[in-house]
Amino acid sequence: MQIELQEISDHLSRFAPFDTLSKESVDNIARHVEVSYFKAGTDILEAGSSIQDLHYVRSGAVEIYRRNGELHDRLVEGDIFGQAGLLRSNKVRFPARALEDSLIYFIPADVFAELCAHHDSFADFVEAEGHSRLKSAVEAQGRASELIQLKCRAIISRSLVWVNANASVSDAAKKMTEQSVSCVLVMSTADLQTAQIEGIVTDRDLRTRLVAEGKNADETRISEIITAAPVTISANDSVFEAMLMMLRRNIHHLPVLHQGRPIGLINLSDIIRYESQSSLYLVNRISNQTSVEGLRILLQDLRGTYIRMVRDGATAHMIGSAISGIGRAFTQRILELAEKKLGPPPVPYCFMVLGSMARDEQLLVTDQDNALILDDAFNPELHDAYFRSLATFVSDGLAACGYSYCKGAIMATNDQWRQPLRVWRNYFESWIEKPNPTTLLHSCIFFDLDGVYGQLEYVRELQNLCATKARAHPSFLNAMARIALNRTPPLGFFRTFVVETDGQQKRIINLKGRGTAPLTDLIRIHALACGSNAQNSFDRLDAIAASNLVPPKAIKHLRYTLEFLSIVRIRHQVEALEQGATPNNYIEPRSFSNSERHNLKEAFQVLSNAQNFLRFRYPAKGRV
C-alpha cells in the first residue's frame, strides 16, 4: 500500500514553494523526506562541507551565516535553506546553526532536481536565491496590461503624412486638409529614405505661429513655424510608454520611428480609443475643466484610474509616472485658472514641485510640496501681492482636489519658498556648502525638484546646480547620509518573529517611512555624488550604474526592491479604496502569504545592506 506521511505532507503544503504543488507531488516529497533533530546551538551545515539535501525548517529557528561569520538570515518554520549550494557546487555556501531546538526535514537532491525540472514555480522560487526571488515577484506584475503589451506600431492608424522643409505653409495646410490630419511631419529632404526629421507642425501651430503673427501662408516656409526636434518614440515601445511620454510633456502627437525612420504618428485620440479610462483621458478632461469645483469632481476618476492600472498589472514605476502626470495636469490647470482670475503675471515665474511628484513617483496618499521661482526682476513691493494670491489660489485648489496642505509648510504660500531665482541659488549653495540640521532636511525635500509650469529653465538651472555642486562637497554628502540612515527597515520585525509569537501588540510596518522613503533617500545621495540631475529614482539608478559608484548587482537589487516595496504599497492602497476605507501606508504582515512575507523580508534586507554600504561610502566625520 502507498504510505502516506500525512504530518509531513500537510506541513509542506502550507509553505512556499510547496504550496503551489499538487497533492501527489507533495505526498511524493513527504515519502522521501529524511528528518533530524538539532539541539539549540548545534551546527546544521558547516561551510565547505558537501550538501545533498534541500533543508526545510519544520519547527524551531535557524540562523544562516555568511562565510565571514556575519549573520545573513534568520529562518523559521516553513523556510528552506541550502538551495544555493545544492544548485551550484553541492558545497555548503552559507553555514547554518540551530538557534532554537529545531526539527529539520531533508529533501534529497534527486527529488529536489526533479521538482525543479517539472515545476517552473518551484524552480523560480529556489533558484531565486535571495533577491532574484523578488525579481520574479516584480516581473509577474506588469505582464498583464494590454497597454504594456501593445506596441506603438500597432496603433498607427494611417500612413505617414509629411512635407519637405522647403514647402510653403499653404502647401502643408492643403496636404493636412486633404488627408484630414491635425499634424504633419516636416522632413529635411524630399527623399524619405535619407531625410531627417526637421520638426512637427500642428493645427495649433498654424493658428499661433502663422495667423496670429500675421504671416503669409504662401510666402512662409513650413520650417519657420515648426516645433524642431520633436520627441519621438520607437515602433517597438509600448503604448503605455507613449502614453507616459505624452503625459509627462503634455504633448498630443508623437512621431513613431522604426530603425530611425519615421513610419507614422500617434496622437492622444489613438490611445484613448484603446483605453477610455486611461490616465491620458483623465489628463485631457483635467485640461478642459473651467473651475476648481470641476477639477474636484475628477478626484473620483483619479481613484478609478489608479485602481484600474493596478488591476491591469502596471508596474509601480508606471503608476508613479502616471499619477505624477495627473498631479502635474491638476497643478497646470489650476495655475491657468489662477492666471485667468488674477491676470497675467507681472514678471515671469516657474511653478516648481518637490518630493514625490518631482520624482514622478507620486501615489494616492500625498501632500502638496511646491514653491515659486520668480524672475530676478521680481520686486517684492510691486509684485509679491500677485504671487501670494497666485500661490494661495493654487494651494487651496490642490487641497480641494485631494492634495492636502503640506504639514511642513513646503508650499509657495510660505514667503521663504516664493523667491527670485538668485535667492534660490543662494539657498541651494549655502545648504550644500554649510549644511546644518535644518537645511539638511530642506535638502532632502528640495533636491527632488521639477518645474511644472512657466519658465521651466529656472528649475533646470537649479537641478544642474545641485548636480554639479553637491558632488564637490563630500561633507554635505556625508551629512545627508547620516539623515538617510535615521530611518531603518523593520528587519527586527522578522528577526524577532521567532521569539515574539502571538504578541498582542499591533504588529504593523510603515511601508513608506521604513521602506520606500529611506530607499529614495539613499538613491538621491548616490545620484548627487555622481553628478546626475535625474529626479526619478529609477533614472537615478541608471545614472549611478553608469558611474560605477555602486556595483551593478547592487543596483539591480535596489531596482527590484524599490519596485516591489512600491507595488506592495500601491496594492495595499487599492485594497483600502475597494473596501471604502482611507488608503494609508501601514501594512500588517500577518495578512500576507508566506511567499509575500519572504519577499518583503528580502526587500528590507536589500535596503539594510544598501544602508550599510552608504554608511561606509559616506563616513561620518565629526559633527555637523
Binding site: M1, I3, E4, L5, Q6, E7, I8, A30, R31, H32, V33, E34, V35, S36, Y37, F38, K39, T42, R58, S59, G60, E100, D101, L103, F106
Partner: protein
Amino acid sequence: MSAQTPIERVQLLAMDIETTGLDPQAHSIVSIGLMPLTLERIHCNHSLYWVLKPTSELNDKSVTFHHITHAEISNAPTFSQISEQLLAAMAGKVMVVHYRNIERGFLDQALRKSLGEGIEFPVIDTMQLEARVYRKKLSWFARIMGRKPESIRLSDSRERLNLPAYQAHHALTDALGTAELLQAQIANRYSRTTPVGELWD
C-alpha cells in the same frame, strides 16, 4: 549487537502498534508503523505501514480512535500475511518504542499465534527514558506543595523537548514522533557515543 556499541553506530527501527485494547490476550493489532533511523537521520523513504484485519471485533470507539475505517480493514491483510516482511524489517535493528509493554506484548502474542513461537528483542523505550528524568520520587516538600508528576506521554514528552505537536494515534506518525523524540533525548541528555546498552535496559 553488543551493549557496548555507541548509539551513533546502531541501526534503529521506531515502531508503533495501534490495538483494539490493552490486553494482548483479548485484543488485537489494528495497524503497525515502522520508521527506520540512525542518530543522524530518520528515513521516511524506508518506512512501512500496515492496517491489519484484527482477530477480535473492532468496536466503533477504536475505529474513530485510530482513524481507521471498517472499509480499510475489510481489505486489509492478516498479521500472518505480513509477519515475514515485518521480521525482515526488524532484523539487525534495535527497536525504539514509546511504552514497550504494548509493542512487546502484542508482537509476542501475534507471532506466537502465527509462527508458533514468540520473540524477545532489544527495545529502547523512549517513555522509560522520560521516566528516568521525570519519575524520580518527588521530595516530601514537593508532595506537600501538591506538585503533580510530569506527564511522560508521547505528546507531552515531545513538547518538553520543543518538538512539534502531531496528530496522535496513527501508527506511522507515532513511529515518526517516537524516532524524533529519541533523537531529541539523546541530543539533550546523552551523547553520540553513549553505549546502546545504557539506553535499552
